[in-house]
Amino acid sequence: MRSAELLALFLAAEALAFVQGCAAGQDKKSRELVAVTRLARTPAGSLSVSDDGRYEFVNFTTKREHDGRLSSSELESLNRHLASPRIDAVYETRDPDPARCEREEAGLVLHSRLGAACFVATNPVDPAVRESLEFFATLFGTKATERR
């Protein structure tokens, strides 16, 4: 085989590899806005909400799951509570005991872009923070029982 043919074959192989390579493993950012986990009270479970308003509730007590979609007003409120600096203020009130949410009925573990932490709604004195934690607790309670 002539060297020009070899070169052409090599370039063709490289072009194919490059196209394949560029398509490989683009791992998108998570579309999860927030997850709320409750461990110490029935129903225990985890509510996960994505940026398109879809949610899934995994019930740890009954070992079932269901999904649905937040109303536009619910999603709007959720985004308001997750916006900075409000959510930053919420995270500043996280409980120093990471196991407290396993014992405390009012405890919720929040998972967001700021990380995961245990919160007890009765702890904060800041009314805005308390309002946010109550919103997350109410959303959890509503979606725990609501079915699409």
Binding site: A17, Q20, A24, D27, T37, S46, R64
Partner: protein, 271 residues
């Protein structure tokens, strides 16, 4: 005057000075990629568990083929024990991948518990681990036959994920690198984020067979939640691993795998 915190040793790896290892970082909340590190992502929990040991750093540096030019400046090459820097946040994740479940990680993949071999598997599969301030994805793995292969970790990986999520992301990227295993578009998260189903998750010319990258993420979260070493997990971290696993299960498969994780990380059937 601040002394240099590194010097070159045989093989080209850097060594940490005693001062770097023992002095609390004065700029612990220093910014990189325009972001400030959150204190709720468990870096301060895991950092003392391995104390930025030189031997561990050397092992990670060589196993994942880190390069200075990919991690210099604010990425942290000159500040490798600062939990606010992308490099240290990557190191913390790799330590969870290696030692979160076992004191003696292995390269044998015969154990069903991926926590025993995820670190070695990832090091073997990933050609080189780079960092960047791009924001378009958590990470990207490029595989090509003769061209440069690499995995690039990006801003959302460094600053929007907990240490455990980051460990899962590295294992996920390793699956991409191992066998050119690529995603599809047909799940709720879409846009090249999906596995067709649990048992057959790879697509593309030349791709491997078997569970795909999203399944690897779930497997790591489940095994970590159920079998993590004492001292390497707490109730909040376990809840975070379970939530991450369930998010992948609910949104990143074209066909629902029909199971979810319970509060301990064990699977239960849902359909």
């Amino acid at each position: 005057m601040k002394q240099s915190t590194r010097h070159v040793i045989a093989g080209g790896f850097f060594a940490l000075s005693l001062a770097a290892a023992l002095t609390p970082a004065s700029d612990a909340r220093a910014q990189a990629c325009g972001r400030t590190a959150s204190s709720s992502q468990f870096d301060s929990f895991y950092a003392p568990l391995w104390s930025c040991q030189q031997a561990r750093v050397d092992d990670m540096w060589s196993r994942f083929d880190f390069d200075e030019e990919d991690w210099d400046g604010a990425m942290g090459f000159d500040d490798p024990c600062n939990d606010a820097r992308p490099l240290k946040r990557t190191f913390n994740a790799l330590q969870v991948l290696a030692y979160g479940v076992t004191t003696s990680p292995t390269c044998s993949t015969s154990n069903a518990n991926v926590g025993h071999w995820a670190y070695c598997f990832s090091g073997n599969a990933i050609d080189e681990l780079d960092g960047s301030c791009a924001t378009d994805a958590r990470a990207t793995t490029v595989t090509a036959a003769v061209l440069d292969n690499y995995t690039e970790l990006k801003t959302p990986f460094f600053y929007d994920e907990t240490v455990v999520q980051r460990a899962g992301t590295i294992f996920h990227e390793a699956r991409h690198a191992h066998g050119w295993c690529r995603h599809t578009d047909g799940c709720l998260d879409g846009s090249g984020s999906c596995d067709p189903n649990w048992n057959s998750g790879c697509v593309g010319v030349g791709s491997g067979s078997g569970p795909g990258a999203n399944a690897y993420s779930v497997r790591f979260m489940s095994w970590f939640a159920t079998t993590a070493r004492a001292g390497w997990i707490n109730a909040t971290i376990r809840a975070n691993a379970v939530a991450e696993g369930n998010h992948f299960l609910s949104r990143r498969f074209e066909t629902d795998p029909c199971f979810r994780l319970d509060s301990n990380g064990f699977s239960f059937k849902t359909c």
